[in-house]
């Protein structure tokens, strides 16, 4: 049964305690470190975003949605592709892309991952096969093509596309499910179901709750998971990747989570009275970091001293990223028309002879072709 819902989780997760599944202490610590690092980065970026307004671009923070990126950070290799939604910072870091270039990109500087051209919602780092974009399902359908290319060339790496449940409002998502299942593509769909499209809840937009169940009807294996339990998310994504590699078929993981921040920018969605809802209170209390930290402390895998030490370390690093971004220069573009096209011919092009012919026989009768 795939019957998780956001409101249902409030009751289920009350009893929920994070279950450690092996004695892999170092894995737990790495996951916690990543979540903590990401959470701190987002927190610091939020504090500097408003009211300072130095970044001057739309930023969608992934505050509260740290589990999926933490799992991907563990499970993906450099050659695997990751296509992210516009809430991209966690995914960017999970592909081991340089954090200082993320900061500089947000500040619009020439040292940013894309020289300040892309900003937060379009950031990419092609050297690590990381891409993002803001028009929701568009990047899912592109991920299908990359997975198709891997299949054509019989490569071993996989493609992951991370998206919110809102992307499944759009038609091309369903075309993607159909085709990836039909062709058996090495593609992991990770739906971070945070229930909201800006302010509109899923129930007001979609017939039926579960994206995972709908994927089943396309012959795509799927699972639902409480997305604020980093270990469950890790286990499910691990299982999914193994399935994809073994069976050469796509898989969909639907992780129920929540953004405890507004759709864009750091202020809570006050216009929708989000902060007063039972749901908000539950999710803010049950962020991926706090519960996980508690259990690791309880098991004595980590100590408060350790946490204080890594916090200090993260603070120092984050300060460096801010300095790097703030002290960098803006890019100067002299000719905008040039940066939209490749300045050079490809090596293949250079090898092929150019011929031009002006005399052409144009006194021919048109015969209208019909059919196909």
């Amino acid at each position: 049964m795939k019957d998780l819902t956001h409101s249902g989780l409030i009751n289920v997760a009350k009893k929920n305690t994070i279950q450690l599944f092996s004695k892999n202490k170092s894995l737990y610590i790495r996951l916690l470190n990543f979540i903590y690092f990401l959470k701190k980065i987002e927190h610091e970026l939020e504090s500097n975003y408003h009211p300072l307004d130095e970044m001057k671009c739309p930023v969608h923070f992934c505050h509260g949605q740290e589990s999926v990126p933490a799992a991907l950070n563990e499970l993906l290799t450099k050659s695997d592709y990751l296509f992210s939604h516009h809430r991209s910072h966690g995914y960017y870091l999970s592909k081991k892309c340089p954090p200082e270039k993320l900061f500089a990109e947000l500040y619009g500087k020439g040292t940013g991952a894309n020289f300040g051209i892309a900003g937060s919602q379009d950031i990419s780092y092609p050297a690590n096969n990381f891409y993002s974009g803001a028009i929701l399902a568009g990047s899912i359908s592109i991920a299908v093509g990359t997975a198709l290319s891997l299949k054509i060339s019989k490569k071993k790496n996989i493609v992951v596309c991370g998206f919110g449940e809102s992307a499944t409002d759009q038609g091309v998502f369903w075309e993607s499910l159909n085709y990836s299942s039909l062709e058996g593509l090495p593609l992991l769909y990770v739906c971070e179901n945070n229930n909201l499209s800006v302010f509109t809840p899923q129930k007001n937009r979609q017939a039926g709750n579960s994206i995972a169940s709908k994927a089943d009807s396309f012959g795509i294996k799927s699972t639902q998971v409480y997305g604020n339990d980093p270990l469950k998310v890790y286990q499910e994504i691990d299982r999914a990747i193994k399935y994809i590699k073994k069976n050469k078929k796509p898989f969909l993981v639907e992780a129920y989570t929540y953004r405890v921040i507004s759709h864009v920018g750091p202020l809570a969605d006050d216009t929708s009275n989000m902060k007063n809802t039972k749901e908000y209170k539950f999710w803010i209390k049950n962020g991926p970091f706090d519960n996980f930290k508690k259990i690791l402390l309880k098991k004595k895998y980590i100590s408060n001293l350790y946490l204080a030490k890594i916090e200090k370390d993260f603070d120092k690093k984050i300060k460096q990223y801010f300095n790097f971004a703030r002290n960098s220069k803006f890019l100067k573009i002299k000719n905008f028309s040039k940066i939209n096209y490749c300045p050079k011919e490809s090596n293949m092009q250079k090898k092929i002879k150019k011929i031009s012919k002006t005399k052409i026989s144009f006194q021919q009768k048109i015969e209208q072709v019909k059919g196909y």
Partner: protein, 327 residues
């Protein structure tokens, strides 16, 4: 150089086949590309030669299809994407406008998307409002895309080969009516460079700039005029973007008169843009106001007699030239 007489569609077929031989990264995607008829013959036998892995039929999911081409190009493929009817391609406008055109730009030049979209435009025989739109102006308006409009078999082969191996995305607008036209075509792989017009006929009295399908009627009109000792210079735009405006300006400076023939709607289109660019540079040296010959600002009717009222022809171009000479 060895040459064979090939039809426009055979030339596309040969160009694609040779590109696929040159590089295993070249793949073909699109509905019916591996069918017996092979999209008016343009993809015939490719699947036999290279297998269905590289020649991929698709469901009627145009939106996904264009995105899939982008995704494959990101992984290093050079994709020839066939949209058998341009009107169906409009399902993938998001993929073209929001992703394909700006992929290189937004990566800061670090990632490229070498996709060739072959978009086929119908005309006549009742193709009607949903099978005959040519929106080349829209795509030429969009930064990051090259737009090619081959008018003959020679260019069709050279332009598809150049497009396949170029690092930027290209949309080739193919007028279905051209597919049967024959030409001597070199048998070696060669390319026709983008950003260069072709002067199809030299003349001193008037410049006729023809876009895509407009060329045939323009050439017919020019022949009629020639008999009356009126020498029209006919320029085949060939590559709508990048546009070789300097060749056009040079010609208009010589003739002082400009007629633009554009197989699309009249307002806000390529004809208007070309006239504007020419006027910016020639100003008062032009002898008479330029003339646009286009389709009316209306959708295409289906019935044959209405089609004849809708489309321009050689007679209309001939009359316009007479008019611009008289003024």
């Amino acid at each position: 150089m060895k040459k064979n007489i090939l039809s426009f569609s055979e030339a596309i077929n040969q160009g694609t086949m040779q590109a696929m031989k040159l590089s295993k990264d070249v793949v073909v995607m699109g509905q019916l590309v591996n069918s017996k008829h092979g999209v008016f013959g343009t993809t015939q036998n490719l699947s036999k030669m290279f297998g269905n892995n590289r020649v991929r039929d698709f469901p009627v999911s145009e939106s996904l299809m264009t995105s899939a081409a982008i995704g494959a190009a990101i992984d290093g493929k050079r994709v020839v994407l066939v949209h058998i009817r341009i009107d169906f391609m409009y399902y993938s406008m998001d993929a073209i406008i929001n992703w394909l055109s700006l992929w290189r730009f937004k990566s800061g030049g670090k990632s490229s998307c070498p996709v060739v979209i072959r978009a086929i435009v119908g005309k006549g025989w009742g193709n009607g409002p949903q099978h005959s739109k040519s929106t080349h102006s829209w795509f030429a308006n969009l930064p990051g895309i090259r737009v090619g409009m081959p008018t003959n078999a020679f260019d069709a082969k050279g332009m598809i080969i150049d497009s396949i191996f170029n690092n930027d995305p290209t949309i080739l607008i193919e007028h279905r009516s051209f597919f049967g036209l024959k030409e001597k075509v070199p048998s070696i792989p060669y390319r026709v460079k983008f950003g260069k017009c072709a002067i199809r006929l030299k003349g001193k009295d008037v410049t006729i700039v023809a876009i895509g399908f407009g060329l045939l009627d323009s050439m017919k009109a020019a022949k009629l005029l020639h008999k009356e000792k009126i020498h029209a210079e006919v320029i085949d735009v060939r590559s709508l973007w990048p546009l070789d405006i300097s060749t056009i300006i040079k010609s208009v400076k010589k003739t002082g008169r400009l007629v633009v023939v554009d197989p699309s709607w009249k307002s806000f289109g390529a004809a208007s843009e070309i006239i504007s660019l020419v006027m910016e540079k020639t100003g008062k040296s032009i002898k008479n106001p330029p003339i646009k010959i286009t389709y009316p600002d209306s959708h295409t009717p289906t019935s044959e007699s209405l089609e004849q009222l809708f489309y321009f022809n050689d007679k209309i171009i001939y009359d316009s030239v007479k008019k611009i000479l008289k003024k």
